[in-house]
Protein backbone atom coordinates (compact mmCIF):
# COMPACT_ATOMS: atom_id res chain seq x y z
CA UNK A 1 0.00 0.00 0.00
CA UNK A 2 1.35 3.44 -0.96
CA UNK A 3 1.51 5.91 1.93
CA UNK A 4 0.74 9.66 1.67
CA UNK A 5 4.42 10.44 2.30
CA UNK A 6 5.47 8.19 -0.59
CA UNK A 7 2.89 9.82 -2.87
CA UNK A 8 4.21 13.24 -1.84
CA UNK A 9 7.65 12.29 -3.13
CA UNK A 10 6.39 11.63 -6.68
CA UNK A 11 6.63 14.95 -8.55
CA UNK A 12 3.34 14.78 -10.47
CA UNK A 13 1.04 13.59 -7.64
CA UNK A 14 1.04 16.82 -5.53
CA UNK A 15 0.58 18.99 -8.64
CA UNK A 16 -2.27 16.75 -9.79
CA UNK A 17 -3.89 16.84 -6.34
CA UNK A 18 -3.61 20.65 -6.13
CA UNK A 19 -4.92 21.31 -9.63
CA UNK A 20 -7.56 18.57 -9.37
CA UNK A 21 -8.87 20.02 -6.09
CA UNK A 22 -9.11 23.44 -7.72
CA UNK A 23 -11.10 22.01 -10.64
CA UNK A 24 -13.41 20.09 -8.28
CA UNK A 25 -13.97 23.26 -6.22
CA UNK A 26 -14.89 25.21 -9.38
CA UNK A 27 -17.23 22.41 -10.47
CA UNK A 28 -18.95 22.30 -7.05
CA UNK A 29 -19.45 26.10 -7.13
CA UNK A 30 -20.92 25.82 -10.66
CA UNK A 31 -23.38 23.12 -9.51
CA UNK A 32 -24.35 25.01 -6.33
CA UNK A 33 -25.10 28.14 -8.38
CA UNK A 34 -27.08 26.18 -10.99
CA UNK A 35 -29.26 24.51 -8.31
CA UNK A 36 -29.79 27.85 -6.58
CA UNK A 37 -27.90 27.23 -3.33
CA UNK A 38 -25.57 30.16 -4.13
CA UNK A 39 -27.20 33.33 -5.49
CA UNK A 40 -26.13 33.81 -9.12
CA UNK A 41 -26.54 37.60 -8.76
CA UNK A 42 -23.77 37.62 -6.13
CA UNK A 43 -21.47 34.90 -7.43
CA UNK A 44 -21.46 34.37 -11.21
CA UNK A 45 -21.06 30.86 -12.59
CA UNK A 46 -17.44 29.89 -13.30
CA UNK A 47 -18.52 29.01 -16.89
CA UNK A 48 -19.85 32.59 -17.30
CA UNK A 49 -16.55 33.97 -15.99
CA UNK A 50 -14.59 31.80 -18.44
CA UNK A 51 -16.85 32.96 -21.31
CA UNK A 52 -16.43 36.62 -20.37
CA UNK A 53 -12.62 36.47 -20.67
CA UNK A 54 -12.85 36.93 -24.46
CA UNK A 55 -15.26 39.87 -24.08
CA UNK A 56 -13.06 41.58 -21.46
CA UNK A 57 -9.98 41.11 -23.66
CA UNK A 58 -11.60 42.45 -26.84
CA UNK A 59 -13.97 45.14 -25.52
CA UNK A 60 -12.04 46.51 -22.55
CA UNK A 61 -8.63 46.75 -24.22
CA UNK A 62 -7.07 44.61 -21.51
CA UNK A 63 -3.67 44.48 -23.22
CA UNK A 64 -3.55 48.29 -23.51
CA UNK A 65 -4.37 48.52 -19.80
CA UNK A 66 -1.78 45.86 -19.03
CA UNK A 67 0.83 47.95 -20.92
CA UNK A 68 -0.10 51.02 -18.85
CA UNK A 69 0.14 49.14 -15.54
CA UNK A 70 3.39 47.57 -16.70
CA UNK A 71 4.79 51.00 -17.65
CA UNK A 72 3.84 52.45 -14.24
CA UNK A 73 5.33 49.48 -12.37
CA UNK A 74 8.46 49.59 -14.54
CA UNK A 75 8.95 53.35 -13.98
CA UNK A 76 8.53 52.91 -10.22
CA UNK A 77 10.84 49.86 -10.39
CA UNK A 78 13.56 51.85 -12.18
CA UNK A 79 13.24 54.59 -9.55
CA UNK A 80 13.51 52.18 -6.62
CA UNK A 81 16.53 50.52 -8.26
CA UNK A 82 18.42 53.78 -8.83
CA UNK A 83 17.46 55.56 -5.60
CA UNK A 84 17.35 52.49 -3.34
CA UNK A 85 20.74 51.08 -4.39
CA UNK A 86 22.33 54.56 -4.21
CA UNK A 87 21.03 55.15 -0.68
CA UNK A 88 22.12 51.63 0.31
CA UNK A 89 25.66 52.32 -0.95
CA UNK A 90 25.72 55.70 0.83
CA UNK A 91 24.68 54.09 4.13
CA UNK A 92 27.33 51.38 3.66
CA UNK A 93 30.04 53.99 3.08
CA UNK A 94 29.01 56.33 5.96
CA UNK A 95 28.66 54.09 9.00
CA UNK A 96 27.36 56.85 11.29
CA UNK A 97 24.53 57.57 8.87
CA UNK A 98 23.79 53.85 8.72
CA UNK A 99 23.59 53.55 12.51
CA UNK A 100 21.29 56.57 12.62
CA UNK A 101 18.95 55.61 9.76
CA UNK A 102 18.80 51.80 9.43
CA UNK A 103 16.13 51.31 12.12
CA UNK A 104 14.10 54.18 10.68
CA UNK A 105 14.10 52.59 7.24
CA UNK A 106 13.13 49.22 8.74
CA UNK A 107 10.24 50.94 10.57
CA UNK A 108 9.20 52.65 7.32
CA UNK A 109 9.12 49.24 5.63
CA UNK A 110 6.44 48.12 8.10
CA UNK A 111 4.46 51.39 7.91
CA UNK A 112 1.20 51.45 5.89
CA UNK A 113 2.63 53.87 3.29
CA UNK A 114 -0.12 53.12 0.74
CA UNK A 115 -2.52 55.07 2.98
CA UNK A 116 -0.72 58.23 1.92
CA UNK A 117 -2.39 58.02 -1.50
CA UNK A 118 -4.85 60.90 -0.78
CA UNK A 119 -1.84 63.06 0.07
CA UNK A 120 -0.10 62.07 -3.17
CA UNK A 121 -3.33 62.83 -5.05
CA UNK A 122 -3.18 66.38 -3.73
CA UNK A 123 0.53 66.79 -4.55
CA UNK A 124 0.71 65.06 -7.97
CA UNK A 125 -2.92 65.14 -9.07
CA UNK A 126 -5.03 62.23 -10.35
CA UNK A 127 -2.40 61.06 -12.79
CA UNK A 128 0.04 58.24 -13.55
CA UNK A 129 2.66 60.15 -11.55
CA UNK A 130 0.70 59.61 -8.31
CA UNK A 131 0.58 55.86 -9.03
CA UNK A 132 4.29 55.71 -9.90
CA UNK A 133 5.26 57.67 -6.76
CA UNK A 134 3.09 55.43 -4.55
CA UNK A 135 4.80 52.39 -6.07
CA UNK A 136 8.17 54.02 -5.50
CA UNK A 137 7.51 54.83 -1.82
CA UNK A 138 6.26 51.29 -1.12
CA UNK A 139 9.16 49.54 -2.86
CA UNK A 140 12.06 51.65 -1.66
CA UNK A 141 12.79 50.35 1.90
CA UNK A 142 13.50 46.68 0.99
CA UNK A 143 15.94 47.73 -1.75
CA UNK A 144 17.87 50.00 0.63
CA UNK A 145 17.97 47.39 3.41
CA UNK A 146 18.98 44.51 1.14
CA UNK A 147 21.67 46.57 -0.64
CA UNK A 148 23.11 47.39 2.76
CA UNK A 149 22.88 43.75 3.86
CA UNK A 150 24.51 42.52 0.65
CA UNK A 151 27.44 44.94 0.80
CA UNK A 152 28.00 44.32 4.53
CA UNK A 153 27.87 40.56 4.03
CA UNK A 154 30.70 40.42 1.48
CA UNK A 155 33.05 37.60 2.48
CA UNK A 156 36.25 38.80 4.18
CA UNK A 157 38.36 36.59 1.93
CA UNK A 158 37.13 38.40 -1.20
CA UNK A 159 37.97 41.79 0.32
CA UNK A 160 41.42 40.49 1.28
CA UNK A 161 42.00 39.29 -2.30
CA UNK A 162 41.13 42.80 -3.51
CA UNK A 163 43.51 44.33 -0.98
CA UNK A 164 46.30 41.96 -2.01
CA UNK A 165 45.89 43.26 -5.58
CA UNK A 166 46.09 46.81 -4.15
CA UNK A 167 42.71 47.81 -5.61
CA UNK A 168 41.58 51.38 -5.06
CA UNK A 169 38.23 52.14 -3.38
CA UNK A 170 36.38 52.43 -6.72
CA UNK A 171 37.99 49.26 -8.13
CA UNK A 172 37.25 47.45 -4.87
CA UNK A 173 33.61 48.45 -5.15
CA UNK A 174 33.21 47.66 -8.86
CA UNK A 175 35.25 44.41 -8.89
CA UNK A 176 34.56 42.93 -5.44
CA UNK A 177 31.81 44.49 -3.31
CA UNK A 178 29.07 45.10 -5.87
CA UNK A 179 29.32 41.73 -7.69
CA UNK A 180 29.37 39.89 -4.34
CA UNK A 181 26.32 41.84 -3.11
CA UNK A 182 24.35 41.52 -6.37
CA UNK A 183 22.31 38.39 -5.44
CA UNK A 184 21.18 39.98 -2.15
CA UNK A 185 20.48 43.29 -3.90
CA UNK A 186 18.28 41.43 -6.36
CA UNK A 187 16.35 39.85 -3.46
CA UNK A 188 15.65 43.43 -2.31
CA UNK A 189 14.71 44.49 -5.84
CA UNK A 190 12.36 41.53 -6.15
CA UNK A 191 10.66 42.38 -2.83
CA UNK A 192 10.54 46.05 -3.83
CA UNK A 193 9.00 45.22 -7.23
CA UNK A 194 6.36 43.02 -5.57
CA UNK A 195 5.39 45.86 -3.19
CA UNK A 196 5.46 48.27 -6.14
CA UNK A 197 3.17 46.10 -8.27
CA UNK A 198 0.73 45.60 -5.37
CA UNK A 199 0.59 49.35 -4.77
CA UNK A 200 0.36 50.30 -8.45
CA UNK A 201 -2.65 48.01 -9.06
CA UNK A 202 -4.16 48.92 -5.66
CA UNK A 203 -3.91 52.69 -6.20
CA UNK A 204 -5.21 52.34 -9.78
CA UNK A 205 -8.25 50.63 -8.30
CA UNK A 206 -8.67 53.17 -5.49
CA UNK A 207 -8.35 56.34 -7.57
CA UNK A 208 -10.06 54.80 -10.61
CA UNK A 209 -7.25 55.74 -12.97
CA UNK A 210 -4.79 53.86 -15.14
CA UNK A 211 -4.68 50.23 -16.21
CA UNK A 212 -5.79 46.92 -14.69
CA UNK A 213 -6.86 48.30 -11.29
CA UNK A 214 -9.18 50.79 -12.95
CA UNK A 215 -10.64 48.06 -15.15
CA UNK A 216 -11.77 46.09 -12.08
CA UNK A 217 -13.30 49.23 -10.58
CA UNK A 218 -15.07 50.10 -13.86
CA UNK A 219 -16.53 46.63 -14.29
CA UNK A 220 -17.65 46.48 -10.64
CA UNK A 221 -19.36 49.88 -10.93
CA UNK A 222 -21.20 48.64 -14.06
CA UNK A 223 -22.22 45.57 -12.01
CA UNK A 224 -20.70 43.34 -14.70
CA UNK A 225 -20.11 40.44 -12.31
CA UNK A 226 -18.57 37.87 -14.70
CA UNK A 227 -16.36 40.65 -16.16
CA UNK A 228 -15.24 41.77 -12.68
CA UNK A 229 -14.33 38.21 -11.69
CA UNK A 230 -12.56 37.67 -15.04
CA UNK A 231 -10.54 40.90 -14.62
CA UNK A 232 -9.58 39.89 -11.04
CA UNK A 233 -8.47 36.46 -12.34
CA UNK A 234 -6.42 38.21 -15.05
CA UNK A 235 -4.67 40.44 -12.46
CA UNK A 236 -3.94 37.37 -10.29
CA UNK A 237 -2.48 35.54 -13.30
CA UNK A 238 -0.31 38.55 -14.21
CA UNK A 239 0.91 38.84 -10.58
CA UNK A 240 1.71 35.11 -10.35
CA UNK A 241 3.52 35.21 -13.71
CA UNK A 242 5.53 38.22 -12.51
CA UNK A 243 6.51 36.50 -9.22
CA UNK A 244 7.57 33.33 -11.03
CA UNK A 245 9.81 35.24 -13.47
CA UNK A 246 11.47 37.34 -10.74
CA UNK A 247 11.94 34.22 -8.61
CA UNK A 248 13.66 32.43 -11.51
CA UNK A 249 16.00 35.39 -12.07
CA UNK A 250 16.76 35.47 -8.33
CA UNK A 251 17.63 31.75 -8.35
CA UNK A 252 19.81 32.24 -11.42
CA UNK A 253 21.73 35.03 -9.68
CA UNK A 254 22.09 33.20 -6.36
CA UNK A 255 25.58 31.73 -5.93
CA UNK A 256 25.81 27.94 -5.71
CA UNK A 257 26.77 26.87 -2.16
Amino acid sequence: MTSAAALGRRPFVPALLGFGSLLIFILVVEILIRVGVINRYIVPMPSQIAMSFGRVISEEDIFGRFRLTFFEALSAGALIAVVGISIGILLYRVNLLRLACETWIAALASAPSVLMYPLFLVIFGRSALTIIMMGFVAGLPPVILKTLEGLSGTRRVLINVGRSFKLGPTQMFVKILFPAALPTIFVGLRLGLIFTLINVVGVEFLINFGGLGQLINDLAERYDLPGTYAAICFVILVSVFFFIITERVERWLRPVD
Binding site: G8, A15, S21, V43, S110, P118, F205, V240
Partner: protein, 264 residues
Protein backbone atom coordinates in the same frame (compact mmCIF):
# COMPACT_ATOMS: atom_id res chain seq x y z
CA UNK B 1 57.73 55.72 41.07
CA UNK B 2 55.25 52.93 40.56
CA UNK B 3 52.71 55.56 39.59
CA UNK B 4 54.80 56.53 36.55
CA UNK B 5 54.43 53.11 34.89
CA UNK B 6 50.69 52.91 35.48
CA UNK B 7 48.48 53.70 32.56
CA UNK B 8 46.32 56.69 33.26
CA UNK B 9 42.95 57.14 31.62
CA UNK B 10 42.87 60.52 29.95
CA UNK B 11 39.93 62.72 30.76
CA UNK B 12 38.18 62.91 27.42
CA UNK B 13 35.17 65.17 27.75
CA UNK B 14 32.06 63.08 27.01
CA UNK B 15 29.64 64.44 24.46
CA UNK B 16 26.22 65.41 25.76
CA UNK B 17 24.68 62.90 23.37
CA UNK B 18 26.33 60.15 21.36
CA UNK B 19 27.22 60.82 17.68
CA UNK B 20 24.38 58.62 16.35
CA UNK B 21 21.80 60.64 18.29
CA UNK B 22 23.44 63.85 17.09
CA UNK B 23 23.08 62.71 13.46
CA UNK B 24 19.46 61.74 14.10
CA UNK B 25 18.68 65.11 15.64
CA UNK B 26 20.43 66.85 12.72
CA UNK B 27 18.37 64.86 10.17
CA UNK B 28 15.09 65.59 11.97
CA UNK B 29 15.93 69.30 12.31
CA UNK B 30 16.90 69.53 8.61
CA UNK B 31 13.60 67.95 7.56
CA UNK B 32 11.56 70.18 9.89
CA UNK B 33 13.35 73.39 8.84
CA UNK B 34 13.11 72.43 5.14
CA UNK B 35 9.41 71.66 5.58
CA UNK B 36 8.71 74.99 7.31
CA UNK B 37 10.66 76.95 4.67
CA UNK B 38 8.68 75.22 1.92
CA UNK B 39 5.42 75.94 3.76
CA UNK B 40 6.27 79.63 4.16
CA UNK B 41 7.70 80.05 0.62
CA UNK B 42 4.32 79.91 -1.12
CA UNK B 43 5.85 77.78 -3.92
CA UNK B 44 3.15 75.15 -3.55
CA UNK B 45 -0.60 75.63 -3.55
CA UNK B 46 -1.92 76.78 -0.16
CA UNK B 47 -1.93 74.06 2.52
CA UNK B 48 -0.45 71.31 0.28
CA UNK B 49 2.50 71.65 2.67
CA UNK B 50 0.97 73.23 5.80
CA UNK B 51 3.19 74.87 8.40
CA UNK B 52 4.41 72.78 11.34
CA UNK B 53 2.30 74.93 13.67
CA UNK B 54 -0.88 74.08 11.75
CA UNK B 55 -0.04 70.35 11.74
CA UNK B 56 0.75 70.37 15.48
CA UNK B 57 -2.53 72.17 16.18
CA UNK B 58 -4.38 69.64 14.00
CA UNK B 59 -2.78 66.75 15.94
CA UNK B 60 -3.86 68.30 19.27
CA UNK B 61 -7.39 68.86 17.93
CA UNK B 62 -7.54 65.32 16.56
CA UNK B 63 -6.38 63.72 19.80
CA UNK B 64 -8.89 65.73 21.84
CA UNK B 65 -11.81 64.87 19.54
CA UNK B 66 -14.07 62.08 20.96
CA UNK B 67 -15.37 61.39 17.44
CA UNK B 68 -11.84 60.38 16.37
CA UNK B 69 -11.63 57.78 19.14
CA UNK B 70 -15.04 56.39 18.15
CA UNK B 71 -13.83 55.96 14.56
CA UNK B 72 -10.52 54.55 15.81
CA UNK B 73 -12.55 52.02 17.83
CA UNK B 74 -14.53 51.03 14.72
CA UNK B 75 -11.34 50.48 12.69
CA UNK B 76 -9.60 48.67 15.57
CA UNK B 77 -12.64 46.41 15.95
CA UNK B 78 -12.69 45.58 12.23
CA UNK B 79 -8.95 44.87 12.21
CA UNK B 80 -9.20 42.83 15.43
CA UNK B 81 -12.04 40.62 14.14
CA UNK B 82 -10.33 40.27 10.73
CA UNK B 83 -7.05 39.33 12.38
CA UNK B 84 -8.77 36.80 14.68
CA UNK B 85 -10.67 35.06 11.85
CA UNK B 86 -7.88 35.28 9.26
CA UNK B 87 -5.18 34.44 11.80
CA UNK B 88 -6.95 31.38 13.21
CA UNK B 89 -7.91 30.02 9.79
CA UNK B 90 -4.39 30.74 8.52
CA UNK B 91 -2.92 28.96 11.54
CA UNK B 92 -5.15 25.94 10.99
CA UNK B 93 -4.31 25.81 7.27
CA UNK B 94 -0.59 26.19 8.05
CA UNK B 95 -0.64 23.37 10.63
CA UNK B 96 -2.52 21.04 8.24
CA UNK B 97 -0.15 21.80 5.35
CA UNK B 98 2.94 21.66 7.55
CA UNK B 99 1.95 18.31 9.05
CA UNK B 100 1.37 16.56 5.72
CA UNK B 101 4.04 16.49 3.01
CA UNK B 102 1.60 15.62 0.21
CA UNK B 103 -0.87 18.38 1.10
CA UNK B 104 1.96 20.88 1.54
CA UNK B 105 3.42 20.16 -1.89
CA UNK B 106 -0.07 20.23 -3.43
CA UNK B 107 -1.41 23.46 -1.95
CA UNK B 108 1.52 25.53 -0.63
CA UNK B 109 2.40 26.90 -4.12
CA UNK B 110 -1.12 28.36 -4.37
CA UNK B 111 -0.69 30.11 -1.00
CA UNK B 112 2.82 31.20 -1.90
CA UNK B 113 1.84 32.81 -5.19
CA UNK B 114 -1.57 34.16 -4.12
CA UNK B 115 -0.06 35.69 -0.95
CA UNK B 116 1.62 38.70 -2.57
CA UNK B 117 -1.23 39.59 -5.01
CA UNK B 118 -2.90 42.98 -4.40
CA UNK B 119 -5.79 42.09 -2.07
CA UNK B 120 -7.68 45.37 -2.51
CA UNK B 121 -8.87 44.17 -5.94
CA UNK B 122 -11.09 41.67 -4.09
CA UNK B 123 -12.99 44.52 -2.45
CA UNK B 124 -15.79 44.68 -5.07
CA UNK B 125 -16.44 40.97 -4.46
CA UNK B 126 -16.39 41.48 -0.68
CA UNK B 127 -18.96 44.30 -1.04
CA UNK B 128 -21.23 41.97 -3.03
CA UNK B 129 -20.84 39.20 -0.48
CA UNK B 130 -20.88 41.13 2.80
CA UNK B 131 -22.42 44.52 1.98
CA UNK B 132 -21.05 48.04 2.34
CA UNK B 133 -20.92 47.92 6.18
CA UNK B 134 -18.15 46.64 8.47
CA UNK B 135 -18.56 43.08 7.13
CA UNK B 136 -16.73 43.81 3.87
CA UNK B 137 -13.90 45.59 5.76
CA UNK B 138 -13.53 42.66 8.14
CA UNK B 139 -13.46 40.33 5.12
CA UNK B 140 -10.66 42.43 3.61
CA UNK B 141 -8.74 42.06 6.88
CA UNK B 142 -9.34 38.30 6.82
CA UNK B 143 -8.08 37.68 3.27
CA UNK B 144 -5.15 40.03 3.84
CA UNK B 145 -3.81 38.33 6.96
CA UNK B 146 -4.70 34.71 6.11
CA UNK B 147 -1.76 34.21 3.72
CA UNK B 148 1.20 35.42 5.83
CA UNK B 149 -0.07 33.54 8.91
CA UNK B 150 -0.67 30.32 6.92
CA UNK B 151 2.75 30.47 5.24
CA UNK B 152 4.54 31.26 8.52
CA UNK B 153 2.71 28.44 10.35
CA UNK B 154 3.49 25.95 7.55
CA UNK B 155 7.17 26.99 7.62
CA UNK B 156 7.14 26.80 11.44
CA UNK B 157 5.82 23.23 11.31
CA UNK B 158 8.78 22.28 9.11
CA UNK B 159 11.23 23.65 11.65
CA UNK B 160 9.89 21.71 14.66
CA UNK B 161 12.47 19.40 16.16
CA UNK B 162 11.51 15.85 15.07
CA UNK B 163 12.45 14.59 18.54
CA UNK B 164 9.60 16.62 20.07
CA UNK B 165 7.12 15.08 17.63
CA UNK B 166 8.41 11.57 18.42
CA UNK B 167 8.09 12.29 22.15
CA UNK B 168 4.45 13.32 21.63
CA UNK B 169 3.73 10.20 19.59
CA UNK B 170 5.46 7.92 22.11
CA UNK B 171 3.08 9.34 24.75
CA UNK B 172 0.24 8.48 22.35
CA UNK B 173 -0.95 12.08 22.25
CA UNK B 174 -4.04 12.59 20.07
CA UNK B 175 -4.24 15.27 17.33
CA UNK B 176 -5.55 17.95 19.73
CA UNK B 177 -2.89 17.18 22.36
CA UNK B 178 -0.18 17.17 19.68
CA UNK B 179 -1.34 20.59 18.46
CA UNK B 180 -1.63 22.13 21.95
CA UNK B 181 1.37 20.48 23.66
CA UNK B 182 3.90 20.07 20.85
CA UNK B 183 3.18 22.02 17.65
CA UNK B 184 1.94 25.36 19.00
CA UNK B 185 4.56 25.86 21.76
CA UNK B 186 7.37 24.86 19.33
CA UNK B 187 6.02 27.19 16.61
CA UNK B 188 5.56 30.21 18.85
CA UNK B 189 8.07 32.46 17.11
CA UNK B 190 7.09 31.75 13.48
CA UNK B 191 3.43 32.19 14.44
CA UNK B 192 4.07 35.54 16.16
CA UNK B 193 6.11 36.61 13.13
CA UNK B 194 3.19 35.63 10.89
CA UNK B 195 0.72 37.49 13.14
CA UNK B 196 2.97 40.55 13.00
CA UNK B 197 3.03 40.45 9.20
CA UNK B 198 -0.69 39.65 9.18
CA UNK B 199 -1.47 42.62 11.43
CA UNK B 200 0.36 44.97 9.04
CA UNK B 201 -1.47 43.75 5.94
CA UNK B 202 -4.85 43.46 7.73
CA UNK B 203 -4.47 47.08 8.79
CA UNK B 204 -3.71 48.16 5.23
CA UNK B 205 -6.53 46.04 3.74
CA UNK B 206 -9.13 47.31 6.21
CA UNK B 207 -8.12 50.98 6.00
CA UNK B 208 -7.92 50.98 2.19
CA UNK B 209 -11.39 49.44 2.06
CA UNK B 210 -12.61 52.21 4.38
CA UNK B 211 -11.13 54.88 2.11
CA UNK B 212 -12.89 53.32 -0.91
CA UNK B 213 -16.39 52.91 0.49
CA UNK B 214 -17.41 53.57 4.09
CA UNK B 215 -19.07 56.07 6.39
CA UNK B 216 -17.03 55.31 9.50
CA UNK B 217 -13.49 54.42 10.58
CA UNK B 218 -10.09 56.06 10.20
CA UNK B 219 -9.91 55.38 6.45
CA UNK B 220 -13.20 57.22 6.02
CA UNK B 221 -11.90 60.18 8.08
CA UNK B 222 -8.73 60.36 5.93
CA UNK B 223 -10.69 60.41 2.65
CA UNK B 224 -13.16 62.89 4.17
CA UNK B 225 -10.27 65.25 5.04
CA UNK B 226 -9.05 64.85 1.43
CA UNK B 227 -12.51 65.65 0.03
CA UNK B 228 -12.77 68.77 2.23
CA UNK B 229 -9.13 69.68 1.42
CA UNK B 230 -8.42 69.88 5.17
CA UNK B 231 -4.72 69.15 4.68
CA UNK B 232 -3.47 69.80 8.25
CA UNK B 233 -6.06 67.30 9.54
CA UNK B 234 -5.04 64.76 6.88
CA UNK B 235 -1.36 65.09 7.79
CA UNK B 236 -2.28 64.81 11.49
CA UNK B 237 -4.26 61.62 10.89
CA UNK B 238 -1.52 60.05 8.79
CA UNK B 239 1.15 60.88 11.40
CA UNK B 240 -0.94 59.45 14.27
CA UNK B 241 -1.81 56.38 12.16
CA UNK B 242 1.84 55.71 11.26
CA UNK B 243 2.86 55.99 14.93
CA UNK B 244 0.05 53.61 15.96
CA UNK B 245 0.86 51.10 13.19
CA UNK B 246 4.61 51.03 13.86
CA UNK B 247 3.91 50.87 17.64
CA UNK B 248 1.45 47.97 17.25
CA UNK B 249 3.98 46.12 15.10
CA UNK B 250 6.70 46.60 17.72
CA UNK B 251 4.38 45.54 20.58
CA UNK B 252 3.40 42.27 18.82
CA UNK B 253 7.08 41.58 18.13
CA UNK B 254 8.05 42.19 21.76
CA UNK B 255 5.12 40.18 23.17
CA UNK B 256 6.20 37.24 21.05
CA UNK B 257 9.81 37.53 22.19
CA UNK B 258 11.09 38.30 18.66
CA UNK B 259 13.29 40.99 20.16
CA UNK B 260 15.06 38.36 22.27
CA UNK B 261 15.64 36.10 19.26
CA UNK B 262 17.34 38.86 17.35
CA UNK B 263 19.47 39.83 20.36
CA UNK B 264 20.54 36.30 21.18
Amino acid sequence: MAEAGRLKQTDVPKAWVDPVTQVRIAIILTILVGWELLAQSGLLYRDVVPSLGKISLAIVKLLSDPDYYWNLGVTAGEIGVGLAIGGLSGLLAGIVLGANRLLRRAFEPYLYYLGPTPKIIFFPIMIMWFGVGPGSKIAMGVISCFFPVALSAAAGMQQIDKVLIRVGKSFRANAWQMAMKIYLPAMRHPIINGVRLGLGVALIGTLLAETKLSNRGIGFLIIQAYSLFDMPRMYAMLIVLFVLAIGANAVVGRLGGLHNIQRN
